[in-house]
Amino acid sequence: MKKLIAVALSTVASIVISASAVNAETFKIGLSNGWVGSEWRTQMIDEAKAAAEKWKEKGVDVEVSVQSANVDVPGQIAHIRNFIAEGVNAIIVNPNSPTAFDPIFAQAKEAGILVIATDAEVSSPDALYVGIDQTAWGAAGAKWLAETLGGKGKVVAINGVAGHPANEMRVAGYKQVFKDYPDIQIVNEVNANWDQAQGQQAMQNILATYPDVNGVVVQDGMAAGAWKSIMDAGKTGQIAATGEIRKDFIDLWVKDKLNSGATVNPPGVMASALNVAVLMLQGKELKEPAKAGQYGNALYLPIPFIDSKNVGDAAKQLEGKPGYYSYTSSLSIETRKLFSSECFHWLRGPSLGPRFPSHRNGRSSMSKLKLSGVSKAYGATLALRRGDLEVLAGEVHVLMGSNGSGKSTLCKIIAGSVRPDAGRILIDNRPVTITGPRSARAQGIGIFYQELSLAAHRSVEENICLAALPTKSRLFVDRALLKQRAARYIRLFEEVAGEGFSADALVGNLRPDQRQLVEIMKALASEAPILIFDEPTSALDRAQVDCFFEILRDLTWQDRGIIFISHRMDEIKAIGDRVTIIRDGETITTLNLAETDAASVIRLMVGRSGDMPASQSSAPAVVEGKDGAAMTVRNLSGRGFRDVSFEVAKGEILGFGGLHGQGQSALLRAIFGASSISSGEVLIGDSRFDASSPRDAIRRGCAYVSGDRGRDGVISGRPIIENVTPIHYLRDRLMIARPSKLRDKVVPALQSMHTKFQSLFHPINSLSGGNQQKVIIARWLIDRPDVLLLDDPTKGIDLSAKADLFALIRQLAAEGLGILLYSSEDAELLGNANRILVFNGGSVSRELTGADRTRYNLYQAAYEAA
C-alpha cells in the first residue's frame, strides 16, 4: 500500500498544477472544439456543459467557455491562445492535429494551465489525453467480426477520413486483429469520410463488385448507411458487419435482427475530460501516472461494446432519445476509479474533495421519492405514527433515529417488505403502490439489508445477480453473462475486498466484512434509481468504507436518490447531504447536514438535551488503574491471533484497536473459552485460568458481551426475564428459583441500564437492538464478574443506548472490574480506554497510552504493516 501512495504522490509533481489555482472552488475551463456540424460533436459539447452544471449543483463553480474551430488548425491555436490570455484554469481540446499543438500546449503549461486533449490523442508531453483508445476501438469490432465469421471469410473495410489520426488508429487496430486470423481476407478498403450516405453508396458498390463478401468493418454513422445497402440487397442474414451504439442504429438492429457488434466513442469523453480536470484542479491525484498510448500521456476510458446478446438492454437504455443520440458515459464509476484519492485520502488529512451543500434551487431539486403521512401499527403498538421523507435526485439522504424510532419500519415500507396502513408514496412525483419486494424492485428501489439477504452456499457472483439471474432461452442460467455482470461490481471493490475474496468463493466462507461487501454489490447490481443502505458499513474497515463512499458519490452523480442509515456520526458527515430525523415513530425534521452539527442532530434524535454523552473531543481518560492485575495474558496464541501479552489492572479499561478482523474478537472469544488456545497462559488475579468452555469462564468470573447479539447473546423468542437470568442460574448453582425473588434481582439490573421494556415476560424479540443489548448486559450485573470482555458491544445500537452503555462501563471500571474493550469505532476507544493495544495481523503492533491516544496514531498503527 505504501508503494501505491508513493506512486500517487509522484504524480502530483508531474500532472497537478500549481497550488495557487486550488485555493478557490471556482474553475474556469476553456473548451476548444475542432469542428462543428456533426451531431456527435453537438452531443459532446452539450454533455460537457451538463457536466459543468452538475459541478455547480454540487457547490463547485465551473465556468465553461466553448470555442469551435472549423477543421482549421491555426484557428484552434488562436482559440487556445485566447484561453491562455483569459487566464483559465484548464483547457480541454478536441484537437484537429496530433502534433501541431505541441508549442502552444507548452505555453499553456508554462502559464500554469492544465491541458487535456480528448477524442484524439496528441503528442505533446505537456498535455494529458483523456478518451478512448482508438486502436482498441478498431480492434474490438474486428475481434467480434473475426469470431462471428469463425475465423475465415472475405471482409471489406469502410473507413473514415483517410489520414485522420483517429481513423488511422482504428485501421491499425483492426488490421492487427485480422493478422491473427490468416483465413480472413481483406478484399478491399474504402474511405467514406464518416458520412452515412457515402457509407451506403460504398456498400452498394462493394456488394456489386464482391458478391461473396461476408464481413464488413465499418465505423460510426457509416454503419447505418452500409446496413441499409445490405438490407436492400436482401443479404441481412448472410453478412456480419460492425455497427455503432447510436439510437437509430440500435432500433434498426433490433427491428431487422442484424448480425452486428457495436462500439461507440462515447460523446461523454469531453465531459469525462472536464471531470478529470476539475478533480485535478481540486488537488486529487491520479492513481497511476497517465502513460498509456503512443505518446505516453493517455488515460484511457472504457469502451462500451454490445452484440446481439445484449442489444436489447442497450435499446432499453436509449429509449426515448433522439435518433442521433449515441450511448454515452461520463464520469462513470470507472472514471472516478482512475484517481487514487478515493481509498487513501484519510492519510493526508481530513479534507476530502468537494463537500456538497444541498441548497438546491429550481430545477435541480427534483423529488425522487416522497413519503407523506405513512403509518404502520403492529397490533396495539404503533411502529410508525407519521413518517414523512423526501429524497431528491442526486443526494445522499441520511435517516437518523434511535433504535425503535421507526426508521427501519420506514425503510421496510419503501422496500415493500412491510405494507403501510396509511399514507402516500410518490416516486418521481407519481403516486405508487408497493405490494412487495418484487414490486419495489420493479419500481426502481434497491435495498441493502442490515441483516444481509445472502445465500451462504451460493457463490459471490450468484448472490450478486440472484434477483435477476441472466438466462438463456429463459430457462438456463447464462453463466458467461452472469460472470460478466457480477465482475462489474466486484471490480469496484477489488482493492479493498481482501484475501480469499473471489467471484466464485462461497459467501458462507467469507469474512463478515466481505459478506457485507457482497450485500453492497448486490444492492448496486439492482441498478435501481433509488437505493436504500441500512447500516451498510457496520462490519467494514476504514479503507472499505472510503471506497464505498466514493462509489456512493458517483451514484449521486447519476442523479440517483440514496437513503443512508448509519450510527457513525463521522460517516454521516462525510457522505450525507441532508438528514431526516425520526423520533418515536414521527418525522421530526429534515436538515441540511452542512448547516448543522453533530450535537444538535443527536439532541433532536434523543429528544432530551441534558444528559448528552460526553462528546468525542472531551477528556477521554476515566479512572486510573488500581493496584493489582485483574487479568494477565502471556504469550497467548490461537486461531486468528498469536503471541499476545498484556495485563489489565483492576479498574482499567484496556482498548483493542485496529482494522476489523485483526484478531481482537478471536482473542476475546479464546479467553472466554469459546475457541481453543494453542499456547500461552491467562491469569485471573494470581491464579492460572485456562477456560475450557464459556461455562468454565463464567464460573471463574469472566463476562463476555458481543456485538453479534443474534449469535452470542439473545435467547431468541424467550421472555426478557429468561434472557437476564441464565448467568445467575449458573453462578449461583440455582436449581429452583422463585420468580418473585428473581424479579427483585433482575429489575434493578435492567434499570441500571435504563432498559425500556413493557414487562419481564415479553419476548426479547419485541425490543429494539439497543434494548436487547442492554438486557444481555444486565445478565452479567446480578453477580458481578471480575473481568468484562466486550467484543464490539455497540454494533448496530443507537447513540443514546451507546451513551448508557459507556456510562455503565465506566462505572463498572470504577468499581474495580478489569475491562477489555474491542470496538470498531475509534471514537469509543479514544473516549473510554486508558490504554489501547492496536492489533495487526493477529498480534499487537503498538500500544497507545496517555497523549499518544490520537486518531492519527490509531490509524497509523493499524495500517503500519499493510
Binding site: M1, A415, S417, P437, R438, A440, R441, I447, Y449, L452, S453, L454, A455, A456, H457, R458, E462, L466, A467, A468, L469, T471, L475, F476, V477, G498, E499, G500, L506, N509, R511, K522, R639, G640, F641, L659, G661, Q662, G663, N840, G841, G842, A865, A866
Partner: protein, 329 residues
C-alpha cells in the same frame, strides 16, 4: 494486505475445494467401498449381470431420491413422494390393462402417468407453499390422500403390467440392458436441469427463505416448481417400479419415502436446504441398495438383517458426515 488476514483456509485447500465443487465425493467413496465389500463377500456380486440387476432394482429409489432432492433444495420435504409413486404405478397399470396393452396404450398411459405425477406435485406445492402449511405434516396428509386414491383405483395388488412394458424395461436394446439407457438419459436430464435458473433459485430459497424473498425472488412459485419437479420424478420412479415388478401395487411406495429422504442425506445434501447435489442423491440411493446386498452377501441370519441394515446406514451416514465436515472445516 497478505499478513493481515488470518483465515483458517488454505491449509486443507485442495481437498476442501474439491468437496465444495463435488460435495457428493464422500458418497461416491462409500459406494465404491460398499462395492468392494460386496465383491469381498461374493466376487460374483460384481459381475455385469448382478450390477445390472442392482441398477434395475434400485432405479426407482434413485429417481425417488432425486425427486426428493429438488424439494429438499428449497428447504422443504415431501413425505408423499412414495405415495405418488404408488398412485402413478396403479394408475398406469390399470390404464394399460384397460386399453389392451399395445404400444400406443403403453405410451398414452405413461404420458397420463406423468401428468398425474405433476398434478400431485402441484397439489403438494399449493398446500405447502401457497397455503403455508408445514411441509412435513402437509405432505404426510397428502400421502395418505394419494394412497387412498391408489387403493380406490386398485384395491388389491396384483394386476399385471403388459408384457411389452416390463420386457422392455428388463430387456436389452442393441445388446445393452435397457436400464443403462435410462441411466444415461437420466444423467443428461440432470445435467440440463442443473443449469436451469430454477435450480439456482431453489437453492437460494432453501438457503434463506427470507433473504430470497427480500431479494425479490418469487418464493412461492419457486417452491411450487420444486414440488412439480418432485412429482415428475416420482412418476418416473413409478415407471421403473412398474417395469421391475410388472404389476400394480397401491402400497408399493409407502416404505420408499423415508428411504428417499435418507438417500438425499447420504448423498451429502443438507435437509435444511440450500446445499446439495442430485448426483449425491443418486449415489445415496445406490448406497442403500448396496447395504441391502452387503447384508445379504455377508450371510446375516434373517432375523438380524434389519438390525444390521439399520446399523450399516447409521455407520455410513456418520462416515459421510464426518468426512464432509472434516474436509470442510
Amino acid at each position: 494486505m497478505a499478513e493481515i488476514t488470518i483465515t483458517p483456509r488454505g491449509r486443507a485447500g485442495g481437498m476442501r475445494r474439491l468437496l465444495e465443487r463435488y460435495p457428493f465425493l464422500p458418497a461416491l467413496a462409500i459406494v465404491v467401498a460398499l462395492l468392494l465389500l460386496n465383491g469381498f463377500f461374493s466376487p460374483n456380486s460384481l459381475s455385469y449381470r448382478s450390477l445390472t440387476g442392482l441398477l434395475s432394482t434400485y432405479m426407482a429409489l434413485v429417481l425417488l431420491a432425486i425427486a426428493q432432492t429438488y424439494v429438499v433444495y428449497a428447504g422443504d420435504i415431501d413425505l408423499s413422494a412414495g405415495s405418488i409413486l404408488s398412485l402413478v404405478n396403479v394408475a398406469i397399470v390399470v390404464l394399460m390393462e384397460r386399453w389392451g396393452g399395445g404400444a400406443g396404450a403403453v405410451l398414452l398411459a405413461l404420458a397420463l402417468g406423468l401428468l398425474l405425477g405433476l398434478a400431485c406435485g402441484l397439489l403438494n406445492g399449493i398446500v405447502v407453499a401457497a397455503l403455508r402449511l408445514q411441509a412435513i405434516v402437509a405432505t404426510f396428509a397428502t400421502s395418505i390422500f394419494f394412497t387412498g386414491l391408489a387403493l380406490y383405483i386398485l384395491p388389491v395388488a396384483g394386476t399385471p403390467a403388459p408384457a411389452l412394458f416390463w420386457r422392455t424395461y428388463g430387456g436389452r436394446l442393441l445388446g445393452v440392458p435397457f436400464v443403462f439407457y435410462i441411466l444415461a438419459g437420466l444423467v443428461i436430464l440432470l445435467l440440463v436441469l442443473s443449469r436451469t435458473r430454477l435450480v439456482t433459485q431453489l437453492l437460494a430459497v432453501g438457503d434463506d427463505q427470507q433473504a430470497a424473498f427480500q431479494s425479490g425472488l418469487p418464493v412461492v412459485p419457486i417452491r411450487i416448481k420444486g414440488y412439480l419437479l418432485c412429482g415428475f420424478f416420482s412418476a418416473l420412479a413409478a415407471f421403473c417400479i412398474t417395469g421391475d415388478t410388472a404389476s400394480g401395487d397401491p402400497l408399493v411406495g409407502g416404505k420408499m419415502t423415508l428411504y428417499s429422504v435418507a438417500a438425499v442425506v447420504l448423498g451429502g445434501s443438507a435437509l435444511s436446504g440450500g446445499w446439495g447435489t442430485v448426483v449425491g442423491s443418486l449415489l445415496g440411493a445406490l448406497t442403500i441398495g448396496l447395504i441391502n446386498s452387503v447384508v445379504f452377501f455377508m450371510g446375516t441370519p434373517s432375523e438380524w438383517q434389519n438390525f444390521v441394515q439399520g446399523l450399516a446406514i447409521l455407520v455410513v451416514l456418520m462416515a459421510g458426515v464426518l468426512a464432509g465436515r472434516r474436509a470442510r472445516a
